[in-house]
């Protein structure tokens, strides 16, 4: 992170490097602090969210707690969520949920890690609120005709994660095995999980 940016680095990359250098020169942070944060960010990925989903599929009482208070349910599994509040929205046979931040790129990083590039793109942010089925189709996701869509725009202090429908053909599976079926895109709501043959 502290390596000098090349001449070709973009404006924001250069600005980031300049601010980082100043913060270090002024003794506000150390290079080790910066690296620790980068490492912590890299260590977080959607497997955390998948773990919560698999638990909810196996334990109805946990699922009820998770829908009532997502942050507390994450902490129950030892997953740190920080000051932002997590809201988990449940897909049902009649309702499909999709997450977006139309204003910028708010994302439940504490549980899903760094957002994919498309999540931050102007195209996704502006179109998914206006034509969600058309956007889902571009992800290869087709919803049955009797399913309505609920789009969640994360504009303030809440962060959102989708609880996908449990795939068919998984009766009797344990949490570990179920967790492996959960994809990042299903937690954002642009994908559904296929049944297991």
């Amino acid at each position: 992170m502290s390596a000098a940016p090349s001449e070709s680095a973009g404006y924001y990359r250069r600005m980031q490097a300049a601010v980082e250098e100043l913060l270090i020169l002024k003794g506000i942070v150390t290079p080790e602090d910066v690296q620790r944060q980068v490492d912590a960010m890299d260590a977080r990925n959607y497997k955390r969210g998948a773990q919560m989903v698999a638990r909810a599929w196996c334990d109805p009482a946990y699922k009820a707690r998770m829908l009532a208070d997502g942050s507390a349910a994450a902490e129950e599994l030892g997953l740190e969520v920080g000051p932002l509040r997590l809201i988990v929205v449940e897909n049902t046979p009649r309702v499909h949920n999709v997450i977006v931040c139309t204003l910028c790129s708010c994302y439940p990083r504490m549980l899903l890690g760094i957002p994919p590039e498309w999540y931050k793109s102007r195209a996704y942010r502006s179109r998914v609120v206006r034509a969600p089925r058309a956007v889902l189709a571009e992800f290869g996701t087709a919803l049955p005709d009797d399913v309505d869509i609920r789009v969640h725009d994360s504009t303030a202090d809440m962060r959102y994660m989708v609880l996908p429908l449990r795939p068919g053909g998984t009766d009797g599976w344990d949490e570990g095995r179920l967790g492996k079926l959960v994809t990042r895109d299903s937690l954002i709501g642009v994908a559904r999980l296929p049944d297991v043959a």
């Binding site: 509040r85 809201i87 139309t102 204003l103 609120v129 206006r130 034509a131 969600p132 089925r133 058309a134 309505d148 869509i149 609920r150 789009v151 969640h152 725009d153 994360s154 504009t155 303030a156 202090d157 809440m158």
Partner: protein, 100 residues
Amino acid sequence: MGAAEAVPAKFRAGDRVRVRLADPPGHVRTPWYCRGHVGTVERLCGAFANPEELAYNRPGLPAQPLYRVRFAARELWPDYREHAADVVEIEIFQHWLEAA
């Protein structure tokens, strides 16, 4: 954040609310596409420091109640072409809402 530092909540789940059709300068987190539109309070999320103040390094207190407001997609987009029952839910601070 103590209760004394929060503005009391004026709305409850199920209340119909209209988003102010305003265009103040500065850092505003009420998306343009819902301004002037009517929706239903889905839940009160709590009270949070006002981002319009935080953006300028001010404390943002007293904290403003924050709601999740549910809008019919067809209310937001008159030419919406997908399901009539589709909705968009948006977090909106109380000072942007009036009873509808």
